[in-house]
């Protein structure tokens, strides 16, 4: 039983990580808190739904929906975010707030208000027996995807030139500005990449949680908590925050169900009380 709960918590954490890392990178680079991040997650899920419906292939959806979400992100960057980089932080956050409304109604207009479900691909539809307990193999796959992204991110950030530039700009924006590496191109790619990760989270979660309007805000709130707890702009913080919130939430629901609704908020409150800048201050 403990193993099952552990895996469930890990799966949830990995989904949160995919979302939080995108949000936190964008914050670190551009100092913009993108409240529409949840909407991109929802768009990822819905695009995946369409691909899955028309081509009857989950794998196509898994590949193309993050790409399409990244394209949506690129489009948003091009028409909006590019122009508001140096604007007042409050103005930026209000603009992204306006995007939530647009995202929500666009999705309703295109896909309707019904909730949908996507079934996991054949290969992953069976359960695996883990120490006498059956466990859905799809969830293991989600954990695998999360860890894969984690490794890729680590590799990109530590071993490639563009990664080094991103890291420099996140860690020390002043120096990056002096060295002129904080270019429009890097911002563009990073922003789109972060949005793509949100889309990936959306499509990977769809077979577990389903696809419905309103999924954007639920997840946005959790992601914001992860980022606040982990420390905004910190990549390590995104991972640790996601694990912390994911585990506290999953185990809280099992062991103290009465408090399940408020326990992660209590974690956030405690963090704010003792570490107002999050666990990993930049």
């Amino acid at each position: 039983m403990l193993l099952i709960q552990f895996l469930n918590a890990l799966q949830f954490s990995m989904t949160l990580f995919l979302l939080a890392v995108g949000l936190t990178i964008i914050f670190g680079l551009m100092k913009i808190v993108n409240l529409a991040h949840g909407s991109l997650y929802m768009i990822g899920a819905y695009v995946g739904l369409s691909i899955w419906t028309y081509f009857d292939s989950f794998w196509l959806a898994l590949i193309f929906s993050p790409l399409i979400t990244a394209l949506v992100g690129a489009f948003l960057y091009y028409i909006l975010f590019r122009h508001i980089q140096n604007a007042d932080p409050m103005k930026q956050v209000l603009l992204t707030f306006g995007l939530i409304y647009i995202g929500l109604d666009s999705v309703r207009l295109i896909w309707g208000t019904m909730s949908h479900s996507i079934s996991a691909p054949e290969l992953l539809s069976k359960s695996i027996i883990l120490i006498n307990n059956p466990y859905p193999s799809y969830r293991l796959f989600v954990i695998f995807i999360g860890i894969l992204v984690l490794i890729c991110l680590y590799f990109i950030l530590e071993k490639t030139v563009i990664g080094a530039k991103v890291r420099a700009s996140v860690d020390d924006p002043e120096a990056a500005k002096l060295l002129k590496i904080n270019t429009d191109k890097i911002l563009f790619y990073t922003f789109s990449f972060g949005c793509g990760l949100a889309g990936l989270a959306g499509i990977t979660v769809a077979p577990i949680l389903g696809v419905e309007p309103g999924m954007d805000m639920e997840v946005l709130v959790l992601t914001l908590i992860v980022v606040v707890v982990g420390g905004p702009g910190s990549l390590k913080g995104a991972l640790v925050g996601a694990l912390l919130i994911g585990f506290v939430d999953s185990f809280g629901k099992v062991y103290i169900p009465q408090l399940a609704q408020i326990i992660i908020y209590a974690v956030m409150a405690l963090t704010l009380l003792f570490r107002p800048d999050g666990l990993y201050k930049r």
Partner: protein, 318 residues
């Protein structure tokens, strides 16, 4: 964004015009218009409460519907479960809102602007989730059968729509007065100073956290009043009242109206609610329109309708 429009004279003029308009609509309108006027007035009270902390304290809250909900649920439970007359229940609701906000405020008021938004959004959603599952609060069904205050000793029957509308207008005038006084008073000016230059306020020995916490709880108290009136108007509550979209609409109202001007909040509440109402009769994708409109206002009309009026007045040479 300048974030604050401080012009007591224009503030008063616009307020008078708006109150007169609402009285005229109330007297000559039908049953539905009167209900609609009361709804707008209550939303205006809510918008003023948001406007006060957003502009004076630099605290833009995306979880203020929580206090609307606290006021509404407190009124319902105090009057139904404990038999407290609704009129007194209103006052108790305000106090409960004040007190809860003081507790929360202690943790969050010193957070930087965008983090304040993130945290209030999260808190508001937590409250929403809790309301949905709470048996005491009626879960997803909400609570029905809430009575309006009995003011028969004043020979007033609040169950008549026209009277109830006037009752809400009476509260709006009180709230307007209170907030404009606080805005001009030392506390309000200190809050304004914190927004302009928070370091310097520390350096001259200001009580930054206390000022902000007081402002936050006053604002929450007013939002609770709005919630209490709302539940009296409708006679029932649904947990949807605490949804983030309600806080979001409040935010849209104050931005459209012109943040920090108090009267602008009333103006914004009226305009946004009317547009929303009219649009939702014609199309079912009004949120898309509101979202676009909001973005355009933020991008190109930073002082909202208030700024528009101010510049027109300037052009006309007043």
């Amino acid at each position: 964004m300048r974030a604050v429009n401080y012009n007591p004279k224009l503030r008063f003029q616009i307020m008078i015009i708006l109150i007169l308009l609402s009285i005229i609509f109330n007297i000559f309108g039908g049953y539905f218009t009167r209900f609609f006027v009361a709804e707008i007035i209550i939303l205006s009270i809510f918008a003023i409460s948001l406007d006060f902390i957003a502009s004076r304290g630099g605290m833009v809250s995306l979880g203020h519907a929580m206090f609307l909900g606290i006021g509404a649920y407190a009124t319902a439970i105090l009057s139904i479960n404990y038999g407290i007359p609704p009129f007194y229940a209103t006052f108790f609701s305000i106090l409960i809102g004040l007190f809860i906000a003081l507790l929360i405020g202690y943790f969050i008021v010193l957070l930087d602007g965008i983090f304040f938004i993130m945290v209030t959004l999260a808190l508001g959603e937590m409250f929403h989730a809790w309301v949905f599952t709470s048996e005491l609060l009626g879960g997803s069904d909400g609570i029905t059968g809430i009575m309006r205050p009995d003011l028969s000793f004043l020979k007033i029957d609040l169950n008549t729509p026209i009277i109830f509308s006037f009752y809400t207008i009476f509260w709006l005038i009180i709230v307007y007065n209170l907030i404009s006084r606080i805005t001009d008073a030392p506390l309000g000016r200190n809050l304004d100073a914190i927004r302009q230059n928070s370091e310097r306020v520390s350096a001259i020995g200001g009580y930054k956290k206390t000022y902000k916490a007081i402002a936050f709880s006053i604002s929450a108290g007013i939002a609770s009043l709005a919630g209490s009136l709302y539940v009296q108007l409708n006679g029932f509550i649904s947990p949807e009242l605490t949804h983030w979209t309600v806080s979001g609409e409040g935010l849209i109202m104050i931005i459209v109206g012109g943040i920090g001007s108090i009267s602008g909040a009333i103006l914004g509440a009226s305009v946004v609610h009317i547009i929303q109402h009219e649009l939702s009769n014609i199309i079912n994708w009004w949120m898309l329109v509101i979202g676009f409109g909001f973005i355009l206002v933020v991008l190109f009309m930073k002082d909202g309708l208030w700024g528009l009026i101010e510049s027109i007045k300037k052009k006309l040479g007043y």
